[in-house]
Symmetry: C2
Subunit: 337 residues, 2 copies
């Protein structure tokens, strides 16, 4: 745990100033929206005293991926900034599309400034990510920018599917895994690979890092889905049972539905129109657990982590960086225990 926190701290210390310098380039309105969303200030632009931002896992992956192939931190830095910009572009748009009113115990950006400001700030951050990457003199910068664009389209494809699932009752587990791979796996895969791509590393190393990130991403999503159903709101920053309220076809839900004859409690919930009351939400969560959804999700997350670790073990990477990547991956499961 201590090693991991030091990795994340190091990443934040290194990436933070570069990310702030990038955001500083946005037009004043988008800059305020982005700075608020990133947890740097309140809605009036006053600097926040405690960090309200995310864990910056993606920038940490980008830096460690660069170190894993022996690159100096400066080489991977534009990649770290770019993936964090893409992640937050995506969150700004997704909060609006999902109608989410809260993120990390604060109103979402669109809830504060309206949909137009959130859409435009997101658009600007997406473009800015490409500017930052293409200003790098690293040999792999154009390739990294191309990959970032493909990842962004994968993110978008995942979100399109996720929204389509809301009005479908027949979502299969395979479809849900494909959606999670697109919506979550692709950017974590791209983050783990981008530092090595920037450094012009040999393909085998880049692919090992990418596979690590993709599997890590699915483990991440599985645990996130468990937290969205059974997690403590104080820890997740989201309302209790938020994913059940929204009738989200998450991985544990599609797993439970595929186990034999459908449970009437689950069918009522999926086909209902009104928001379930607290007692009903509790019954739905219990029905999912009884069907083994929680246990399956944890076991599947562990299996994905093992695959992620195997991918790294098979490649010729820097020893210390590999250790830190593994510690970061293990944290995905630990944060839920």
């Amino acid at each position: 745990m201590t090693e991991l926190l030091s990795t994340l701290d190091r990443s934040r210390t290194h990436v933070g100033p570069a990310l702030r310098a990038a955001v500083e380039r946005l037009d004043p309105t988008s800059r305020l929206v982005a700075s608020y969303h990133l947890g740097w200030c309140d809605a009036d632009g006053r600097a926040t005293t405690e960090a309200a931002g995310g864990k910056a896992v993606r920038p940490a992956l980008a830096l460690l991926g660069g170190e894993a192939v022996g690159a100096a931190a400066e080489v991977a830095l534009p990649g770290a900034v770019a993936v964090e910009l893409i992640h937050n572009f995506s969150l700004l748009h997704d909060d609006l599309l999902d109608g989410d009113l809260e993120r990390r115990h604060r109103p979402t950006a669109w809830a504060v400034w309206g949909s137009a400001s959130a859409i435009l700030a997101g658009d600007a951050m997406l473009a800015l990510a490409h500017e930052v990457l293409l200003e790098s003199a690293a040999p792999g910068a154009p390739r990294a920018a191309w990959e970032l664009a493909t990842v962004t389209r994968e993110l978008t494809r995942g979100q399109v599917q996720d929204l389509a699932f809301e009005t479908r009752a027949d979502v299969t587990l395979d479809e849900c895994l494909d959606m999670a791979a697109a919506k979550t796996g692709s950017l974590l895969a791209g983050s783990a690979a981008i530092g090595a791509v920037l450094a012009g590393a040999e393909p085998a190393k880049v692919e090992a890092l990418r596979t690590f990130g993709a599997q890590f991403g699915l483990a991440f999503q599985l645990v996130d889905d468990v937290l969205g159903i059974w997690g403590d709101p104080a820890a997740t920053g989201k309302p209790v049972y938020s994913d059940l309220r929204a009738r989200k076809k998450t991985l544990p839900v599609t797993y439970a539905l595929a186990q034999g004859k459908p449970d009437p409690v689950l069918l009522d919930w999926l086909t209902g129109a009104d928001e379930p009351d607290p007692a009903a939400l509790h019954r739905i969560a219990d029905a999912l657990r009884t069907r083994g959804a929680r246990d399956w999700a944890f076991a599947e997350a562990k299996r994905r982590l093992a695959d992620a670790e195997d991918a790294l073990a098979a490649a010729d990477l820097n020893h210390r960086a590999r250790g830190e990547l593994l510690a970061l991956a293990r944290f995905v499961l630990e944060r839920s225990s």
Copy 2:
């Protein structure tokens, strides 16, 4: 006119297949939204028999810009596709942000499929533009992608300003010119320059083309603003007086407001809350014309065109391509006569 139509036809013939191949790569939902928005099909995906799309001025500029520096059409082609994707990403988002229900006599994409599909299709097209550019083997591809990203942020900045103007009564002509330069001028400037950038042309030629595009863009916006007030709905594809209904602080409006003591008809309109009735809209249009707004806009457009032509004349460019660029620019004024 004949020469111009041949330029636009040539551009469509050349760019059309490449643009379709690019759009084909989108996820099925975003592909349908994009194809409908581009006028290729109806809302059910059935191919349209007549072209309902735009004039594809930006791809034509990109191809001609390449030809102007002696590059083969293949070199500029990814640039032509990319600027058309960026233009349409921007239209998809702007139609939603502006609440516009119609474009080219058809319901806008968000009016057909909702805001989420329009936002995500736009996001995907923005990313796709970068993929297409960075897949080019042209020497200037990374530089062109970087420029496209800066242009996209300028577009966004212009749209942020445009929306902010809606709730402000004190917008100056300079602010409005800055907004138009960002929202319209930047992408036309980028379009005119991108073919030459891809070809790795010398800076003086690139800058001449960029200046040409920027001035052409402002002339374009001035004429578009005139059409938004006094244009024939059958020709513009927008409801009559659409910009006046929306209380848009367009260039002719900000010009009229700056001419001496404010006209009470204009002040009532600007500070009112209800939608003006047809008679009131007619009075507002007349008040703007009386203040010289229409004449000023045409004269200013002519002046910008002269500057655009001067920029081209001063640079060592291919004679035929320069002639076609000028013909395209003159069309901006001609389409309103």
